[in-house]
Amino acid sequence: MTQAVFYILAVSAVITALLCILSRSTISAVLWLTATMLALAAIYLLLNAEFVAAIQVLVYAGAVMVLFLFVVMLLNLSTVTTDLRGPATVAAAVVLVGLLGIQLAALWRYTPGRLAAEVSQSPALADPSALFVAGDVSRHDALTRGVVGAVAAPLFQTYLVPFEITSVLLLAAIVGAVVLAKRRI
């Protein structure tokens, strides 16, 4: 059942991503990407990451995509005929992306057991049995500490300093965006 739902969502994600990179008008590319992101949010639910799914819908499909749509609206672009590059570039891109896809598709065959076996064979930085405990860590964390607590506890303990640094990053991004978008630089 979960498998069937996953494959339906995966196919819809791939189709909407294809339409996104091939659609002529900018606004439909942005809207197709929003559809891809919503499909990915549903996949996160299947992968026991409920909080990430909620944030994906709120921040990505909500805020970031609205930002894109605002810029598309502000620019008032004319619907161009097509902006695909020439045939030589298209052929080179197909070869390049095909090779990349084949390399990355090797990941498809990974199962938890195989991953643990490969890590235990290589010279390990950490004890593999500690990294890959038997069972489902996300599900276990969510059951013991709650869906938000499982994410919040390490975020505000182990990753507190990176978390604070992201606030500086966001401040820099806000100031930079305001300065760049001002009428006279």
């Binding site: 979960t2 498998q3 996953f6 494959y7 995966a10 994600a13 791939v14 991503a17 294809l18 996104c20 990179i21 900018t26 590319a29 942005v30 990407l33 891809t36 992101m37 990915l40 996949i43 299947l46 992968l47 990430v52 921040v59 970031v64 930002l67 894109f68 810029v71 620019l75 161009v80 695909l84 590059r85 891109a93 197909v94 992306v97 990349l100 896809g101 990355l104 990941l107 498809w108 065959r109 990974y110 938890p112 991953l115 890959f132 489902d136 860590v137 996300s138 599900r139 964390d141 994410v151 390490p154 975020l155 992201t166 990053l169 991004a173 930079g176 965006a177 760049l180 978008a181 009428r183």
Partner: protein, 103 residues
């Protein structure tokens, strides 16, 4: 083993497909905004593999997703502001017309 764990391989495969599509979009399109959209697609593909592997490795993977989202939001804000500034200057977002550094 819960149902989510059996999805590890397929989720990584989907992540690979989406990343390749994002790369294809960056190479093929000349519209600067569509290029940014494709970069977001690639970031989403990486997020998917983080979430898939977080099932084995604990919540650290999910926290990386938050950091990726923060960086993506900051990048989108600054990048779109740059596109706005370029559009005001050139009246176009076609990357073929933006060749100031070509020499």
């Amino acid at each position: 083993m819960t149902p989510g764990m059996t999805l590890l391989g397929p989720a990584l495969g989907l992540s690979a497909i989406l990343f390749s599509l994002g790369v294809a979009g960056v190479v093929l399109r000349r519209n600067a905004i569509v290029l940014f959209v494709c970069i977001e697609l690639m970031l989403n593909a990486v997020n998917l593999s983080f979430v898939a592997l977080a099932q084995l490795h604990g919540a650290s993977g999910q926290i990386m997703v938050f950091f990726v989202m923060t960086v993506a939001a900051a990048e989108a804000a600054v990048g779109l502001a740059i596109i706005l500034a370029i559009f005001r200057h050139k009246q176009s977002v076609d990357l073929q017309n933006i060749n100031l550094l070509r020499g």
